[in-house]
Amino acid sequence: MAKMTLEELRKLRDQKQGEMQKRDIEGKDSRIVIGMGTCGIAAGAKPVLDAFLAALEEKHIDNVSVTQTGCMGLCYVEPTIEVIVPGMPDVIYGKVDAATARKIVEQHIIGKQLVTDHMFDRPAADIIKKDGGK
């Protein structure tokens, strides 16, 4: 790929936006927040961010907000991420790797089902396993 100019990037965006409008509103108002503190980075939060972006691109979902925060206080199960999908409980997933990220996109964002074996915080305490099922 040749080095892109800002003008070419602008054209690519316009072209993508046209495609996006035709598509379903699958990820609308959904948010993925990745814990990117020292603990998260050390445990591999960056490859997880990559995996989320790749999985969302593969499923042609362009409208999920992907953002970062610092440590969420669960350093022992990093990388941790929070997923907020309208109509579903907010969930903090822990011990997330690239494969889990893919699973969260397919099962939680698209399928609207919780990925129970990586849940560490939020819904009723009886659903959450102390070690996230690991």
Partner: protein, 202 residues
């Protein structure tokens, strides 16, 4: 503990964002043997007392996490630079900002691998606390010199807010094309023999 150089960069640039900076610069100058890095912000800065203590892993200002007694970002970085006989320097002034300047001796046995700069730049540019971030990356070797510059304000002017998956994937593609170009000038560092420190030196 971080594995790659890009992990340290991601960690330390975030400090600048959290120090209420409106403009942060990350400058990376790579040669065949060295990677020189500079992170400069116009954030709140640190007084002399704090500057003395930030390299102590058991020091934290206790503001972000009130009960925490460790702060590992800068201690990890200075240790990694020292391990490969690189350099580390911190300059800061309250109300003016902070500059962290450091280098890695890439041919040293204990130099960390570079990691994935494209991902790191995507993460930094899309950080919610980043107002203006300017990244300048230069590779300069016997093959020639090449530079690219990324500015958050400029990229947002083209792409809109750097926050949704579609935009971030476009951003990644753009940065990847810049990185690919400078990497044509990259030369693998020649491993220095006998660079591992002897027991006495340590």
């Amino acid at each position: 503990m971080h594995i790659c150089i890009d992990d340290y960069l991601l960690d330390i640039v975030q400090n600048s964002f959290e120090a209420a900076s409106t403009r942060v610069e990350l400058v990376l100058d790579e040669t065949e043997s060295k990677l020189k890095c500079l992170i400069r912000d116009n954030g709140k800065g640190m007084d002399a007392g704090v500057q003395k203590r930030v390299l102590d892993p058991f020091y934290s200002d206790g503001v972000k996490h009130t009960k925490r007694k460790v702060g590992l970002g800068l201690p990890f970085l200075s240790q990694a630079c020292e391990a490969c006989q690189g350099t580390f320097a911190l300059h800061s002034e309250v109300g003016v900002g902070t500059t962290v300047e450091f280098s890695f001796n890439l041919g040293h046995l204990d130099a960390p691998p570079m990691g994935n700069l494209v991902s790191t730049f995507v993460a930094l540019l899309s950080h919610p606390l980043a107002k203006e971030l300017v990244i300048r990356r230069t590779v300069s070797t016997r093959k020639g010199t090449s530079t690219y510059t990324l500015s958050k304000e400029e990229l947002e002017e083209v792409l809109g807010s750097l926050s949704t998956s579609g935009v971030l994937n476009l951003l990644r593609e753009y940065i990847h094309s810049q990185e690919e170009e400078v990497m044509t000038y990259h030369v693998e560092p020649k491993m220095q023999s006998e660079t591992r420190r002897t027991q006495q030196e340590m």
